[in-house]
């Protein structure tokens, strides 16, 4: 099967890859680029484990083709936070024990960051509806919602 050449930006780095036409952004990230932080839970857009930011928008990596990444800017969980400091969402997930198995966590971190970037003071209901595309089977969401609330407070404090 012929492969297509794609150039894109991933976590700030210019990246080029070859992909088959049916391969998704998720396949490319995980199998070609070795960025396995983004997870596959369903491959059909129903679980959010594959959440990434594409040009700042939250998308399911499993629903976007690799070839569609041409010229786009992709941010994955590996691109969130810095080597000396976790992002407040990551930090609050740890402090609030918002993960058990942790498999859904990268998707939630990316989705929650996208929420707080666009809506710094979400209500509990807004958080719950925004995160309704991300499945977690372990936590019952209670501690996840609280971690996002705490991260919002923390980020507000940092700005002030």
């Amino acid at each position: 099967m012929p492969k297509i050449h794609v150039s894109t930006t991933v976590n700030g780095d210019t990246v080029e890859f070859l992909c088959e036409t049916q391969e998704t952004v998720l396949d490319v990230l995980r199998n070609t680029l070795g960025l396995t932080g983004t997870k596959e839970g369903c491959g059909t857009g129903d679980c959010g484990a594959c959440s990434v930011l594409v040009d700042g928008r939250l998308v399911c990596g499993c629903l976007m083709l690799g070839v569609e990444a041409e010229g786009k800017e992709i941010v994955t969980v590996e691109g969130i936070g810095s080597p000396d400091r976790l992002h407040p969402v990551q930090q609050k997930f740890l402090e609030d024990a918002a993960l058990q198995c942790g498999f859904c966590t990268p998707g939630f971190i990316v989705a929650a960051k996208a929420l707080l970037d666009s809506n710094p003071e979400p209500t509990e209901t807004e958080i719950r509806y925004w995160l309704a595309g991300n499945l977690c089977r372990c936590t019952g969401y209670d501690k996840i919602v609280r971690a996002v609330q705490d991260a919002a407070l923390e980020m507000k404090g940092q700005q002030a």
Partner: protein, 756 residues
């Protein structure tokens, strides 16, 4: 090693888990995150039929496809001698497992593997599957458990004879076995009763729903030595099942545990690993296999759908004098449903003098049922806690008071026999009754339900090694995969015994060649049993350090006391030495210091729990909304309270999903119609409120910190709690799961019609 009350410095606090940073940054490696040079991709061809005979399989075209390196069918897989492998909550019959891994002459469910390929890319492997030709003779199938028990039902196995019935059956059937628990005199019990209530309930198969699909990499070398990387609830179980399946020796196979993305019992068996090993052996290259979500639903264990008859008899004053239950459980394609646990625990929160509970394990054309959180118990509790609620209404007493009046307590007897030690049933009930939730007002179409649950918790085999580093920090080595923060709770117990901070202990879950055998992570056993092993191993290290200090001071070890991370001389000059001071001199005092323990832990204390929930029922659509939810559970001792709460919240959420929406839906041909998260509807964040988790602490006398298991019990009460709440809101009793909008609507309309 028994419980002693003491002041604790680490146990009971909430440190950040040791594997946390890896998991919020995407560094943690799960089952599908691993790859090797030269790796092939393996894929499985699955039956599209619920029940069919395989007349022939032609793999020649698939083999001829460029890039395909190996193709296998049932004939390529060895058939092991019989026998049983223990798997935590399960006992696995190896011949059944072999036939489940890859069908031989018959397929028994939609999704049953019939062939597998390994190729140089995923897309070629997929293409190869399309080229395999299977000639099926379709047979009649049966999925409903009561249908499957009928004498003329389609037969899954012609060599299956019901066990444990008299007289021994002469004809094969789908009923694998009968299980009975009982005591007292039923006739007398029911004749004394002033009120008798008898009802029928049904549930559908539901899936564990872990978000991480099964995945593994296998590498089989020419000398017969093999390695498997996979995510599971127990690397030792995976090793033992694989070597049993393939006729290998335990030392031939090393299983390296990946991080696990949820299991809930579903990852206590093998589906892919033996296939990957055989493919790797044939191809001479490493093989990676991952399941799609559709494959997870179609081929990995759901838990049983069932049909239950429950009958209860009580005196006017609320004393329950007799209970009789008949529980029919789907086993799936091969015998082995969790009906045994349902039989033992359905009535276990209560002390009932006359009991007769019979369970039936029945083969049907769905995937082999596998363990799911407190396997069997939620089904049984759904029925029994519903009739208890009816009884409370009939008697016009508070449902919590009725439960308390009949509750088990220390000294009462379990339905399965033994006399209970201390347990927290009454404590949970009174905490629930005094909770502000129980007094809160309800609006129109809103209702409140209560239900209790019991889970026995298990102990089992665990090992731990405590390595004292030269700088005084600790490496804690253990063998139970960490699904929900057990690294943290184990490291905390180690730190507590040493008298240091939890952060100074680095816990690792290691492969099958690096520690002695451990039972699986399951049955709520790790914090209890592995915790006990960790405490013993740490005490062993402390003993050695006291001896070293004694040597350095030239005194008797008995004159050295251990406190706050240091050895102290009890008399004399009152000297002290820290762990670092002792460890840095270890080479000179007898070599490095390492504590060990390998145990088979007994005496896991049962968990009791009471849930209450408020619902609102939309009379137009039948939709049930959970407004408020509170769980109260006796954890014995919460080592890391956040993760104990997390278990309670997560279990409740799974129970809510089971109650409201989750079910396997089959078409006329027995094919699974909803093999994806879109149509198999698990709860999302917007479906749920915050879940208040109250953890009571009645210490387990058989654990140094009083720990009981915590993970299973929370899924037991929700089904009945929600059904009882719906009744409270609408006056309509839901006895068939799930309470999805169309069913609730139909029940409401039916009730209207009946009213006329």
């Amino acid at each position: 090693m028994t419980y002693e009350p003491k002041t604790l410095k680490v146990v009971g606090t909430r440190p950040i888990r040791h594997d946390g940073a890896d998991k919020v940054t995407g560094r943690a490696n799960y089952g599908a995150d691993f790859k090797l040079p030269g790796m092939l991709w393996g894929k499985v061809l699955r039956s599209p039929h619920a029940h069919a005979r395989i007349r022939a399989i032609d793999v020649s075209k698939a083999k001829a496809l460029p890039g395909v390196k190996a193709v296998i069918t049932g004939g390529d897989m060895p058939m092991p001698d019989g026998g049983v492998t223990q798997a935590g909550e399960s006992a696995i019959n190896t011949q059944h497992l072999a036939k489940n891994l890859m069908a031989r002459d018959k397929v028994l469910y939609d999704g049953h593997p019939v062939a597998a390929v390994a190729a140089i890319s995923e897309s070629i492997a997929r293409e190869a599957l399309d080229l395999i030709e299977v000639d099926y003779e379709i047979l009649p199938h049966v999925i409903d458990v009561e249908e499957a028990m009928k004498p003329d039902a389609p037969l899954l196995h012609d060599d299956l004879f019901t066990q444990n019935v008299e007289p021994k059956p002469e004809k094969p059937s789908n009923v694998a076995q009968r299980i009975f628990v009982g005591k007292g005199d039923m006739e007398k019990g029911f004749s004394e009763a002033d009120i008798v209530i008898e009802r029928h309930f049904t549930t559908k198969p539901v899936h564990q729903g872990y978000i991480e699909p099964q995945a593994c990499v296998a590498n089989f070398a020419e000398d017969g030595q093999a390695v498997v990387w996979c995510s599971s609830q127990g690397q030792f179980l995976i090793r033992d099942l694989c070597v049993n399946m393939l006729g290998m020796e335990a030392s031939d196979l090393k299983v390296i545990p990946a991080e696990i993305g949820g299991g809930f019992g579903g990852k206590t068996t093998v589906y892919l690993e033996p296939l990957a090993l055989v493919l790797s052996h044939k191809a001479g290259r490493p093989v990676k296999m991952t399941m799609s979500r559709g494959e997870v639903f179609r081929s990995t264990g759901p838990t049983s759908g069932c049909a239950i008859r429950a009958k209860i008899g009580a005196l006017r004053d609320g004393t329950i004098v007799a209970a009789e239950m008949d529980l029919k459980f789907q086993a799936g394609a091969f015998p082995g449903s969790p009906v045994g646990a349902a039989v033992m625990f359905a009535t276990a929160p209560y002390d009932i003098p006359n009991l007769s509970i019979t369970g039936w394990d029945v083969c049907v054309n769905v995937p082999k049922i596998h363990a799911y959180r407190a396997p069997g118990a939620p089904n049984g509790a759904f029925a029994f806690e519903s009739v208890i609620d009816e009884l409370a209404r009939e008697l016009n007493v508070d449902p919590i008071d009725l439960r308390a009046k009949n509750s088990v307590a220390e000294g009462s007897k379990a339905p399965y026999g033994p006399t209970h030690g201390p347990l927290g049933g009454l404590e949970c009930l009174s905490a629930a009754k005094n909770h502000p939730h129980y007094k809160a007002n309800l609006g129109p179409n809103q209702g409140r339900g209560v239900a209790s649950g019991f889970w026995i918790n298990i102990g089992g085999q665990s090992a731990a090694t405590v390595v004292v580093n030269r700088d005084g920090t600790i490496a804690l080595v253990e063998g139970c995969p960490d699904i929900g923060g057990t690294r943290a709770s184990l490291a905390m117990m180690c730190a507590e015994v040493l008298g240091i901070e939890a952060e100074k202990v680095r816990p690792s879950v290691v492969d099958t060649t690096a520690i002695a055998f451990n039972d699986v992570t399951g049955g709520s056993r790790v914090t209890f049993a592995t915790g006990k092993a960790v405490v013993e191993a740490t005490e062993d290290a402390v003993r050695q350090m006291r001896e070293r200090a004694a040597k350095m001071w030239d005194i008797e070890p008995d004159s050295v006391l251990w406190r706050d991370g240091a050895a102290h001389e009890t008399g004399g000059e009152g000297r002290s030495l820290t762990i670092a001071q002792i460890a840095s001199k270890a080479a000179k005092t007898g070599g490095q210091i390492m504590g060990h323990a390998s145990i088979n832990a007994a005496g896991a204390g049962p968990s009791l729990t009471t849930h209450m929930c408020d619902v609102e029922v939309d009379r137009e659509t039948g939709r049930v909304t959970i407004l408020r939810y509170t769980t109260v559970q006796d954890a014995g001792k919460a080592v890391h309270p956040s993760y104990v709460e997390g278990q309670m919240q997560g279990g409740a959420a799974q129970g809510i999903g089971w109650a409201l929406n989750e079910e396997y839906i089959h078409d006329e041909q027995g094919r699974l119609l909803n093999a994806g998260f879109l149509d198999y509807r698990m709860p999302v964040a917007s479906d749920l409120p915050m879940i208040d988790a109250v953890s009571g602490e009645v210490p387990n006398p058989n654990h140094p910190f009083g720990v009981r298991g915590v993970g299973e019990a929370p899924i037991v009460p929700p089904l009945a709690a929600i059904s009882n709440a719906i009744y409270d809101a609408t006056g309509v009793r839901m006895r068939d799961l799930p309470f999805s909008p169309p069913r609730v609507l139909a029940a409401l309309e039916e009730a209207e019609r009946a009213k006329g």
